[in-house]
Assembly symmetry: C2
Homo-oligomer: 589 residues x 2
């Protein structure tokens, strides 16, 4: 049998190897027939090497090579020689040499793939690429991303190990709990009618480690949510999940800034400066309309309620009377934004429920055009002071309910930054958002919901507000934001059993639900629980940013579609009646 | 607020710290009142430190400390001082010092735990320990095992990274396939009546990585099997799962011997010699009756068909006529085994279906007692030659179907070794078992089954046997055995689409099943597949052996019972009607 064990990979040979006999194995990347010779670029994950079938060396070998086509897998034995004068390829590590083939074996022929493997850009649907995922990975881009993901995971693990964190695996066959998103369920065969749930996060398990005295835990954990998906979500996703005892958020920030510093150094050889900035939730919402501001560019939201009230623009008056707000963006040099583009922006913010936008331009003397006439000279002065507008700037106003104004101007701010190239792609703007509110009021369900999750500790100063005005209570929760993406979040946890019970009551859970779903946890807290806190970083998103892609499927080996299907294996799929019978399940038509 | 952030852990202080002011946080391990002083051993994961509440230093603090009980969580500020003459404890890292408390805070009181945390041995059921798993972990033993597991996983990851393997996560929401054990199913909400399955192993996913050209893959992967469990099995278990291209078993053996060498060095500081021994499957069955022989002691099975045939012992004759075999163990010095013990051994082998055992003892002159009289003088000579029996040895015979004899004598061999202390506990006998058969005949289902799995390549020399006598075909499969435990196994895979299809046919799968379940995979092999091979090591079992325990639940943070329940969270459990309705599922009564 032909010994296909390579002596090196396809990215290894250079001038220093000239004269050596080697074995290379890989895929036929490109094939050229030229002057009676057959040239093949042989490819593996590591690179390309040019190999030559020369009838002068062996007629038989050259003849046998004629059948070779793209993507066939072959193994060759040959001799390394320098490329002829002027034929070196400086873009390849192996560009100075080629290998003349003395013998070879076809290890596997290949059907013509449904899309090109060797062209950098292909024009096929993502669905086709997902169906033939193994070929899409072979194209190189996804393979590189997966290698980056591997590097990132290993960097995280070694860093957290160096900080005394132990990686401990928690169960996938877990328990369904009512708070949070929809669970994936797993029917039990031994106890028909009972179900496991796939974990949405290892939250209670990791807090119980702290009760155990494990002190510092982490896990790169698979988590699951059965939700109708936005484009950057997957039904299964991966968290860098950690928990520590006897610390405060400041301790945790130092550790996780260290983790991100190490990660960027290991993966991209970039030094990121620490410590990161902090911003409280209220300021983020006020100045950026979002709790994950992109700080790579300026252009804050400017509150103009006072000025708007004094203007004669009736829409402002109406919105303010209805409890709304007026906020604005000042676009530097934005006077050149055309009417057509402004129409696009208006259509864009309508997606977020805003009825319209108003504008004024600044000349070196005054505000003109748009709604300028509704501002008196004095009011214009006030506007100038607030907006710090300069000649040729454009002010864009939005008036509506605060939520809607914030959401619209946040999106518009980022859209304009993109359109006007305001973003320095090389910048990495990390930011901790702190002082989140404990609860938000859910109008649909007519009850309070946890802004973070029900295990989050209130700010110790605000515990008294829980009885009087819980919506005002701040949580000891924090998010970490990078360039406008929330890449993680966490909190100081409740370590008092009574307080934990009270929070469930505030969330309007029945005593029965509290006991059934969380009873064991509330009891656990009574056996001596240290103060503890934690964080979870979204690994998929972190890797996405490391790989500079905005498609989460590009950093997952076998992703699901937005309909939660795997097109490659055709999953989910029907199962046998025997399987359903064993689970005592019947599917309703 | 009291600042509970410790300046060091409870295992850090020694004589060099005398005079320093420190903050320690932890659990009250033991409390002693002595001469008006309160002594507390403060405990965390790292160790113990003795702290003293002295009324001479502060009456108030001493008074406040009177309420402290076992397992309360406290934080103390104090000053390090040397212990008084003769009071040092050489068994503790902190045994030369103590800390006089200047101030402290109760972070969390504790109910009396259901079992003792500080006693080394407790006499409670495993069920109670599992229900309060977080307290059982706190007791220390499990915590140490989990720390070892962390260390082992990190060692494996760094080693495989150094060998060019990339860790790539494969889906948990996977596809149900008919071969192998029973799947756990996950109902799809979006496609009612369709199901995902939790993976029994990432087998096809990892082979597709090889089709992708990923070259070397690994993953510490969660796997799932819905089987009625033996005591050392869990419904979810963890595999060190790897696959590589362009290699042969010999290449793989070198890498994974390196992995185990590194693992034992990192975890236990033991140097294990490599390369490991090889034994073919046939020899293992012949000489040890099992494909996972414990080589820490000798006492091979000895085949005695020829001698038995010539003896006048009718049971031997009957069994041989019925197609059975006669094999024996020679127990060195076993003449002292009492009748009572032999009766126990007879009862023991009955569990494996064997009807009985026969014996003879060796004196320096002859075989006596038991069935000795059925052997002529000449036959005794032959028996002596075969068994190499010495004075005071005991020969134990078994006669029955080969399977039954092998299984019985394998178990008896290990039982006797344990009873007679033949096992050097320090020995690590690693062994590769090779040349497994491709198939075994399943009498129940009246068809061939894969001995390893259907992706295993036949020995290239035996491919022709597939058409004529498939049971004789050897597989390119291998197991790795340590001290009688199978800790992993793998194989060279089929990389030809046609051969893969043929194997499914031999396994009697219908063309429809082949297409529905494996169609995508058989197609994938047609696009240029390199020769590849892989292995999976059972992480749980490897860690079990590292931790020197024989209970798999001792190395898993939150294990399931043999009925696949989690006693701590009470899972599986009932779910709401709303959840079932969303999945369009009905539970049959």
């Amino acid at each position: 049998m032909f010994d296909f064990r390579r002596t090196c990979n396809c990215n290894a040979l250079n001038k220093s190897n000239v004269g050596q006999e080697v074995t290379l194995s890989g895929w036929v990347h490109r094939r050229r027939d030229h002057g009676g010779l057959i040239f093949i670029d042989l490819r593996d994950r590591y690179g390309l090497t040019q190999v030559i079938f020369d009838p002068k060396l062996s007629k038989e070998i050259h003849e046998k090579a004629k059948v070779l086509r793209s993507e066939w897998v072959i193994s060759i034995k040959g001799k390394v020689r320098p490329r002829s004068e002027g034929m070196a390829n400086p873009n390849l590590n192996t560009g100075e040499i080629e290998v003349e083939v003395l013998d070879f074996e076809i290890l596997s022929p290949a059907k013509t793939p449904p899309f090109s493997i060797c062209d950098e850009r292909i024009d096929v649907s993502e669905d086709l690429r997902l169906k033939f995922r193994y070929l899409d990975i072979r194209r190189g881009e996804i393979c590189k991303n997966l290698a980056m993901r591997h590097k990132a995971m290993l960097s995280v693990r070694n860093f957290l190990d160096s900080q005394g964190f132990l990686e401990i695996t928690t169960p996938i066959l877990s328990k369904s709990t009512p708070e949070g998103a929809r669970d994936y369920l797993v029917p039990s065969r031994i106890y028909p009618g009972n179900f496991y749930a796939l974990p949405q996060s290892p939250q209670m398990f990791k807090q119980l480690f702290m009760v155990s005295g494990m002190d510092r835990y982490f896990q790169i954990a698979q988590c699951f949510r059965d939700e109708d998906m936005r484009s950057d979500r997957q039904p299964e996703f991966t968290q860098i999940d950690a928990e520590m005892s006897f610390g405060t958020p400041e301790d945790l920030f130092v550790i996780f800034e260290g983790l991100l510093k190490k990660l960027y150094k290991d993966c991209l050889n970039i030094d990121i400066p620490t410590p990161f900035r902090h911003m409280n939730h209220k300021d983020a919402m006020e100045n950026y309309g979002t709790d994950r501001p992109d700080l790579r560019f300026d252009m804050k939201l400017i509150r103009l309620d006072d000025i708007a009230k004094k203007s004669s623009f009736s829409i402002f008056q109406e919105q303010l009377k209805a409890g709304g707000v007026v906020k604005a963006l000042c676009v530097k040099g934005g006077a050149d934004i055309s009417r057509r583009v402004m129409d696009e922006y208006t259509a864009f913010v309508k997606e977020f429920g805003l009825s319209g936008l108003a504008t004024v331009k600044r000349t070196d003397k005054e505000f003109t055009t748009g709604i300028a006439k509704f501002f008196t000279e004095d009011l214009q002065k006030e506007l100038l002071e607030k907006t710090k507008a300069e000649n040729n700037d454009l002010i864009i106003f939005a008036a509506d309910k605060e939520d809607r104004v914030n959401q619209s101007l946040d999106h518009l701010r980022r859209r304009i930054a993109k359109d006007r190239n305001l973003i320095d792609k090389k910048k990495l703007e990390f930011l901790w958002i702190v002082d989140f509110p404990m609860f938000s009021f859910d109008e649909k369900e007519n009850r309070l919901k946890s802004e973070h999750h029900p295990f989050t500790s209130p700010n110790f100063d605000d515990i008294k507000l829980l009885d009087t005005d819980p919506v005002k209570a701040r949580a000891q929760a924090y998010d970490i934001v990078l360039n406008g993406y929330e890449i993680g979040g966490g909190s100081q946890r409740i370590h008092s059993s009574e307080l934990q019970h009270k929070i469930f009551q505030i969330l309007n859970l029945s005593e029965k639900d509290i006991q059934n779903k969380f009873g064991f946890f509330i009891e656990a807290l009574q056996y001596g629980t240290p103060p503890h806190l934690g964080i979870a970083l979204g690994l998929d998103r972190v890797v996405m940013l490391l790989c500079d892609t905005d498609n989460i499927r590009d950093v997952i080996a076998y992703p699901k579609t937005q309909k939660a299907t795997d097109l490659m294996t055709a999953s989910p799929s029907e199962v046998s009646q025997k399987q359903l019978d064993e689970l005592k399940l019947k599917v309703q038509k």
